[in-house]
């Protein structure tokens, strides 16, 4: 077996990969889109959102944690899998307070854009309307936990890139939530800064830079211009 010539198929297309690459990494490198939220190619996979679920040789698995194997047959863009992904999205939407019309991230939000991509026309389930805090204590950034989907990208960025450990996930099950590393629990009392990686990675509207929210108008934002599937990993316009 020539290790340089390893391939698998994704919905019938041949995808080359190197040893140690996961299915989604290889797919992205080949310019193919697999829906995902907690995965970001710059970080170690977390495998929690399950949006990137595919069928690999008939077995359902998260493509961000499953290593690609030579000759593997992967199904992703099928009605069955997309129906399941849509249900995952609907559960994320009802679990938090995702009111897009009043969210500064609207149009640049990966949760919203993925829901567009998968034709999510309604949240289907009953809304939880949870009571979650908004932390405006930091001079440059808001932390609006109403929109948190627990992807842990801020946790990974702060720990692995910034070396600051500003964020962590706390609690279990439905009580899981993001906490910040300060006695007061307030972002303003941490060493979080605007040039931290953690300030750039939130896929939804939780970590938001102050005073620039609508500098790009609604309707002219990243996913207004092209669907999220058009770029294997979305590059969101700077606010």
């Amino acid at each position: 077996m020539n290790p340089d010539k390893q391939t698998f198929t994704l919905d019938g297309k041949t995808i080359p990969f190197c040893n140690g690459q996961t299915i989604i990494q290889a797919a992205m490198d080949a310019g193919e889109y697999i829906p995902h939220l907690c995965f970001n190619p710059e970080f170690k996979p977390h495998g929690s959102c399950k949006l990137c679920t595919v069928k690999a040789d008939g077995r359902t698995t998260a493509s961000c944690t499953q290593f690609a194997q030579d000759g593997m047959v992967v199904e992703s863009n099928t009605k069955e899998i997309n129906d399941e992904r849509r249900v995952l999205l609907q559960m994320l939407f009802v679990e938090g307070n995702h009111f897009c019309p009043s969210c500064e991230k609207s149009g640049n939000c990966q949760l919203q854009a993925t829901a567009y991509e998968l034709n999510m026309m309604s949240p289907h389930f009953d809304q939880f309307f949870p009571d979650r805090p908004l932390d405006a204590s930091h001079p440059e950034y808001f932390l609006d936990l109403n929109r948190c989907i627990l992807c842990s990208l801020c946790v990974r960025a702060s720990r692995d890139v910034d070396g600051k450990n500003v964020f962590a996930l706390s609690g279990r099950g439905i009580k899981s939530h993001v906490i910040v590393n300060a006695q007061s629990g307030q972002l303003g009392d941490t060493d979080f800064a605007g040039d931290d990686k953690a300030a750039q990675v939130c896929p939804v509207g939780v970590i938001l830079k102050k005073r620039v929210g609508f500098s790009v108008p609604i309707g002219k934002r990243s996913f207004d211009e092209q669907p999220i599937s058009a770029t294997p990993h979305p590059v969101v316009k700077e606010a």
Binding site: F93, N97, H98, F99, C100, P101, S102, C103, S106, G107, Q112, A115, Y116, N119, M121, S122, P123, H124, D126, Q127, F129, P130, D131, I218, D224, Q226, P227
Partner: protein, 191 residues
Amino acid sequence: MNVPEMTEPEINVKPKLRVATTSLAGCFGCHMSFLDIDERLFDLLELVEFDRSPLTDIKHCGPCDIGIIEGGVCNAENVHVLREFRANCKILIAIGACAINGGLPAQRNHLPLSIVLEEVYHAQHGLVDGFIPNDPELPLPLDKVHPIHEVVQVDYFIPGCPPSGDAIWKVLTDLLAGREPELGHGLIHYD
């Protein structure tokens, strides 16, 4: 041979579909957006006639083919109107963010209703001797604002705040043509 003169039979006269629309806990923005279909409204009127709607000022919904609901459910009257629509409409469409997830009115949901009423009628700056309205004709507010699919079965959804006239046109023309409505990129919007 004499061919008897025949009159053209009227074979193309289909009965018009009846459409009802209403706004519950909404701002009528979706209705304004509906009017943004502009001159296509004339094409639409070739195919449909309006039952209860702000356009006709008919007060109660009769048997209809399509009911379009803007706004969520925030008080007892909303629930009655919504149930009247569901009972009368073959197809019920939720239009706009408020009907679909509660939208702006649902921002009060994390506050107890008593605090909201207190703030609006008693505590706010400039209110002297304010009182919470209690006229029996006023519908009682619900403790939480709900999307309409939490109260009745909804057949189709047109998201957006408001959805564009083009999105509304697409769904209506798909339905009138007997197609499953589908909004692609650019028409599906939650904002």
